[in-house]
């Protein structure tokens, strides 16, 4: 009985750790689009999904620690034409993200550009768009 309770608690605790985390779908107005900040860190997860992609990054906090940020990207269709792909980013990749911060102060940003470790730039729009 006691084992069953402990097991249940363990299962409940494990639930949010799956790969099916959902992030709210935002409109541009959720972000300060005319402010662009820079974060460097390591890719934790790259979600190639509609209507927006998500880049989950462990960002260096400047004090030797890491803070998880969820960076919202544009749709796969438009990013494909901008030079991105489903496999362009992988967990462990070092990235620099230019992003607009969320107006509500949460650790969510909207991607303006990602620079990869080899210097390759992934812009958020196709050339000339």
């Amino acid at each position: 009985m006691r084992t069953r309770i402990i097991l249940s608690i363990a299962l409940l605790a494990a639930l949010p750790l799956g790969d099916t985390r959902a992030y709210a779908h935002h409109s541009n107005v959720a972000f300060a689009v005319e402010t662009v900040l820079t974060a460097t860190g390591t890719v934790k997860e790259w979600q190639w999904s509609n209507p927006h992609t998500w880049l989950i990054v462990d960002v260096d906090d400047g004090k030797g620690g890491k803070v998880e940020w969820a960076m919202e990207g544009r749709a796969p269709g438009v990013l494909l034409r901008a030079g991105w792909s489903r496999s362009v980013l992988k967990p462990g990749d070092k990235v620099t993200v230019h992003y607009s911060p969320s107006k509500d102060g949460s650790k969510v940003g909207m991607i303006a550009r990602v620079t990869m470790a080899d210097g390759k730039i992934l812009p958020n729009a196709p050339p000339g768009d």
């Binding site: 959902a22 541009n28 959720a30 689009v33 005319e34 662009v36 209507p51 269709g77 107006k103 303006a112």
Partner: protein, 262 residues
Amino acid sequence: MRTSRIVVPILTVIALSSSVQTQSPPDFAGVYRPINAFGPAGGGRGARAGGPPAPAPGQPPPPPTRTAPLSDGSQGRAPTAPQLTPEYLAKWQAMSKARVAGSSENDNTAKCLPPGMPAMMNMAYGMEVMQTKDKITFFSELNDALRRVYLDGRKPTPAILDDPTYAGYSTGHWEGDTLVVDTVSLRDNTYIEGFTPHSDQMTIRERIRFVSPGILEDRIAVTDPKALVKPWETVKTYRKMTGPPEDQLREFACAEGIEHAR
């Protein structure tokens, strides 16, 4: 003499009718990308990517200065925007206040709803046109939105008028090389452009034609006696794509990002 007097007019009639029959309407079918998706005041070239200047060869581009055009109304209404009646201007101002505060509550596309007419014709992510003699279908990659324009002479029935939709009900006819389209029966929970509200009395007339080879123009006139002080006109232009991958639209499947669908 007598024979030739009869034969010549007959031949003329045959020649005229065959020339009418062979003059078929232009073929709009194809995949297009917008030239001015957000209009001349909306940001234009480079608005998303942070804008020009282009970097020197071999040098990285300068850091982006913004992520997207400002779309919360905090800078007021553009002089080219639809002129609203006081009642609808008040609605716009209330929505602007919410947007400045960061609320997505009035954004249909953030809820995966269709953009609706006429905003749908921005076609920011690309447009596919399918055409037959009796029907033209416009498809928008953004939100997988679709509209049909009937060319076979049918008219909206009372049942259609009683059943407003996001795309509305469109009928069209050819005037030379120009497709003239009338759209009625539109829902009132969409936006004319940006987040400009309208009433259920909004109607739209479009004149669509090739202005040069591969460049399609849509002149859109919006009438709404309740929401607009005067009819509003705008012009969208699109460039026809000639080969892969640009002439292929990608699936949008917006519901993929909705929490309950995952």
